[in-house]
Subunit: 377 residues, 4 copies
Amino acid sequence: MIGYQFMGKMHSHAYRDMPFFFKTSVKPVLKAISGRKEEAVRQAAEEFGWESYETDWRKMIEREDIDVIDIVTPNHTHAEIAIAAAEAGKHILSEKPLALNVEEAKQMYDAVQRNNVVHMICHNYRFAPAVQYAKKLIEEGRIGKIYHIRANYLQDFIMDPSFPLIWRLKKEVSGSGTLGDIGAHSIDLARFLVGEIGEVSGMMETFIKERPIADLTGGLSATTDLKEYGEVTVDDAVAFLARFDNGAMGTFEATRFAGGNRNKNKFEINGENGSIRWDMENMNNLDVYFTDSPPGLQGFRTINCTEEEHPYAGAYWPPGHIIGYEHTFINLIHSFITGISNNEATAPDFQDGVINQKVMEAVEQSALNKKWMKIQI
Amino acid sequence: MIGYQFMGKMHSHAYRDMPFFFKTSVKPVLKAISGRKEEAVRQAAEEFGWESYETDWRKMIEREDIDVIDIVTPNHTHAEIAIAAAEAGKHILSEKPLALNVEEAKQMYDAVQRNNVVHMICHNYRFAPAVQYAKKLIEEGRIGKIYHIRANYLQDFIMDPSFPLIWRLKKEVSGSGTLGDIGAHSIDLARFLVGEIGEVSGMMETFIKERPIADLTGGLSATTDLKEYGEVTVDDAVAFLARFDNGAMGTFEATRFAGGNRNKNKFEINGENGSIRWDMENMNNLDVYFTDSPPGLQGFRTINCTEEEHPYAGAYWPPGHIIGYEHTFINLIHSFITGISNNEATAPDFQDGVINQKVMEAVEQSALNKKWMKIQI
Amino acid sequence: MIGYQFMGKMHSHAYRDMPFFFKTSVKPVLKAISGRKEEAVRQAAEEFGWESYETDWRKMIEREDIDVIDIVTPNHTHAEIAIAAAEAGKHILSEKPLALNVEEAKQMYDAVQRNNVVHMICHNYRFAPAVQYAKKLIEEGRIGKIYHIRANYLQDFIMDPSFPLIWRLKKEVSGSGTLGDIGAHSIDLARFLVGEIGEVSGMMETFIKERPIADLTGGLSATTDLKEYGEVTVDDAVAFLARFDNGAMGTFEATRFAGGNRNKNKFEINGENGSIRWDMENMNNLDVYFTDSPPGLQGFRTINCTEEEHPYAGAYWPPGHIIGYEHTFINLIHSFITGISNNEATAPDFQDGVINQKVMEAVEQSALNKKWMKIQI
Amino acid sequence: MIGYQFMGKMHSHAYRDMPFFFKTSVKPVLKAISGRKEEAVRQAAEEFGWESYETDWRKMIEREDIDVIDIVTPNHTHAEIAIAAAEAGKHILSEKPLALNVEEAKQMYDAVQRNNVVHMICHNYRFAPAVQYAKKLIEEGRIGKIYHIRANYLQDFIMDPSFPLIWRLKKEVSGSGTLGDIGAHSIDLARFLVGEIGEVSGMMETFIKERPIADLTGGLSATTDLKEYGEVTVDDAVAFLARFDNGAMGTFEATRFAGGNRNKNKFEINGENGSIRWDMENMNNLDVYFTDSPPGLQGFRTINCTEEEHPYAGAYWPPGHIIGYEHTFINLIHSFITGISNNEATAPDFQDGVINQKVMEAVEQSALNKKWMKIQI
């Protein structure tokens, strides 16, 4: 694994826990973790349970005892690492967004295809049992032709103007702001559940233009005593309209300025025969409505997706004994490892990463040019 | 009152009930109701408690015992009636949208100004105590500078393709579809709470293109045995992005194709110091979040707006004894009658109607031309 | 109508509004209202729309132009007024609890039976469309044999120790405290929905033993400047276990000391085939669960009981346009007036009042003697 | 660890995950797991990650490389194992209920005291961050003197009459039914948050008297092909009233016959200055109400207890990224291991187990004798 911040901890945990809950023919071994600061990465190795560490990621790729590279570094490094890993024949899991832009993303996808390695992008929310069950209901036609999706991803952790200028707020490191960090998740969920997006009209905004400069290597909780200010070069908030290839309408909004919404990743989908609602903050629940319920008995029902009928839920605890955020990663890792052991494609893969990136780039272009932009897949 | 369908019943009730709950120096007297079909309007007069009826609305305007004209007819008649009423010196309450287009709306506004009559447009949702209280909190600066409003008005009553082609689905009668019928309410609430909208980018869709032809004078529940089909000439759904003059971002969506949402008129507003959420289906409640709550104790609180601190609530029942949809009209009528008795302006008035119409027209133009449109007030 | 406080206003409103929403063969005429304080009752007559007033309730009973007596006075006067009204052949609606004790209640019931008048007790919550629909589902066997009811009626309006000693807090005037005032509603709902109660084990508590003395004729909002304190002689809170004749278990709790619960009248019923939940604060909604939903799709569904399938809802507004607390009274008055016009029994009637009183008396006895008490019907 | 069913899996997971999230001076090593069926326990050892296994629990106690005994066996074996383990100087974690009855529980408590080992009972719900935060608020006096607790623990997994006669339904193995299995959790939470219970009045019911006989060693999901039926000798449901030593009133209900409630462990506490609500199915949230909020702004606020101010939450993910059921065990194990490393008492310990058992026994006696029973601590 390359990187050791928040997502490094999360992925490490998922590799450790996955075999406890799932039987797979190959099991992950936590060989090595890499990071530039020796003391920090040494500590991370110990804390997260890795056998060894490296201070240069290229060493990881050279090592013959490593079959899988997991990329949890800041976004601007994804492409170089992934391409090198692919060339070395390693299977790759990359954090999202796949890259800084479509061009980079395509190069990554080319590399993994050329080298025939298993590749996956870490859109973990697909792997909530409730979301997987929503997918199943949609595929079975239970809500019919889809008319609408409205997806919001609302956070509030940078509302304070004294929150420092972390790497996620610098375009050269992160590519974009809320759009790539959380909007990307909504885009991925929408594509997973509704289908491909044909065109978008977007708007973006940076509410706080300058922030105190912090050590850019710091994680989410970086703090600073510095009095110097630097420019925020990414979006604080983004909203866009979308038209899907199948005719559905989409409205999307992602922001880090929605006070009181800590991690409100939610969507509602309306089809001709029913509707589905999901909200990450109560991620075990799925609200479902069917138009064919008897008159008088129609209403959204709240399903606690902890039964064996709900994908992945059977691996955990009895009905009603809920799971949390980290389990979306455990399920994703299960899918990734299964893909590796069967040498099968996984989803979402780097192709999804490319398409998600295309949607994001179209949103940015649209916001800049103030017109609708088409997405060419 | 001119018109006697769903809104005719609602307004009649509000005139009757208002004096029971509120003390006003002048009290409404239900002199006459008008409609083209004598038997139907006669019945309505009796059922709704009007002293007399007319079959030609021009008679109403000629009558000297009538001081106030309330227009609850289909949209394409609003302008002619309102202008005639204004010329005759009657005070006017008009249902929304004010007119078929901006041009008509302006003529109406000119007429009421020229004739110095009290005028009001029936955006009743402003008058829910929770919404009035939200306004108060915003005006007091409790949530600070506003970053976001996301407003949805979701219904599902025409999802069935066999639902007939009522007048609300014909552009020449209604002007627009969901946009003018329910989207207009969201626009009005946003302008009331956030401020004026500067530009919009919109999209519109008609999911069911043809429907069985029905008697166009029928109300919401019109049915038909006819086998003939006619074209739906208005939008089934509309969504748009908005930039407010004060820099806030808005996302709006109105649809009649969101299964399970009977009358889900809701919004969330995020400001620098807090957030506010409201949902018509639980209209007595207001969810409020403040960033200055102590760490650990931050969260949306649900206020049951039935206390004397909540505007209009003191006129009704003790705390926790909730009111309903009809009370928004009773409160609005109280405001209208108070305006008349004091010869003061009321809000929302025809000027609001004109501006709301401008926003709607900009949304339509934007959807047609696929570009952002500015609103000139 | 005899009495003119909170419930006087509520009943007056219901008599006025009922004919607007419902067609009935006889229509209520608001002949006279009665109260001891002339100025106050004169004002009430005007405000509530009564043709005349009396300062001695006996005059009301003597008047030949009055067919119906509605009793909304403090509880200790119900029996005398009702018996006199019955002897005079008037139909009677009485507020709950029916009387101070079972003995009085029985005398009232004897009187109305002997004189063959229509009688009703004002347990309005039965008349929420959602509750009526729950009754229908239960009668149709949709949830099967009932195992459980848990009913809470939680308020908080007297938590402040400086809240005055209103009549509802004096046993000689009110009979009991929370038990008779709000617990009685839960008992009535449970009997309506589940069946008769066989035995109870209860506990009662008075948390604030002394309060400032107020004018006992004051309503809910009585205030006082007096420095004198008097004893609270009724229960602040009551809880009891119940065994129903059909084997169901019941847990009941009523309190005025549950901070944040303004008028939380709620219940959940569990049967062998499903469950039902209701909460007055969202009174239009009914939550329903069926065990025969397909595996994976089981969950409580929230029905917005505003459709024509839901009893009484068709008389009001389109689906999703909610009604409020006062509509439970309008529906009840409709049932009462229909009973009078058909000379039919209504429900809940004085017999229900007697049985409810027996349950309350058993709870009080049980709390006093610390043992289970049986209810003999 | 002795036992390897549902709770065996859960505890194993918690021992593995705890050191990942928490720094402790000693770390658990998974030495051995024990069970009577060799093949099953061998598999469990492998699946759960134990170094070795035993088929006789006495061997575990003899082993010198084992310092801690974790008892997750059926209830009738707790006492014998715990006493033997204590005599051998092992620290002990026992599943709840502590024993079959008070007598056994006392012997266990005597044994651990006599041998000066660290002891803990596995009431995991105390360790939800939201519950810990509720405790903190109560201790700080934020809700003042407590008036009420109403606690429900509702499940539905044995509603189907064909569900087999598992060991939890046989009194000689489990001691009691819902009372000891889930009611015990509510009792423990109430004692933790409100204080000691002085007296109770209870009722118990067995709705399904006979069930198909299953292999009694089977876990929650035991199935059977047998046609033979056996008697259910424990309670399906229990409810009781309680008076706390500090004057608070309690109402408790635990049942496995509340359809639609998979694992609804919830409570509401009302104090003189505020209220607190919690529901395991949304276990990250705590609803809090304060009477000193400004008029107009009073209401229950929903706190997502995932911030660093919320006990244990800081060990996991960023705010809004929720945790699940299993984390209550991880937190509990952290507390247990910390207790061992510091040789300090932990809570809840065997003394709590004894007192909880006394409350349960009093409830049973009360239900049998139909009178209030006092609890002597």
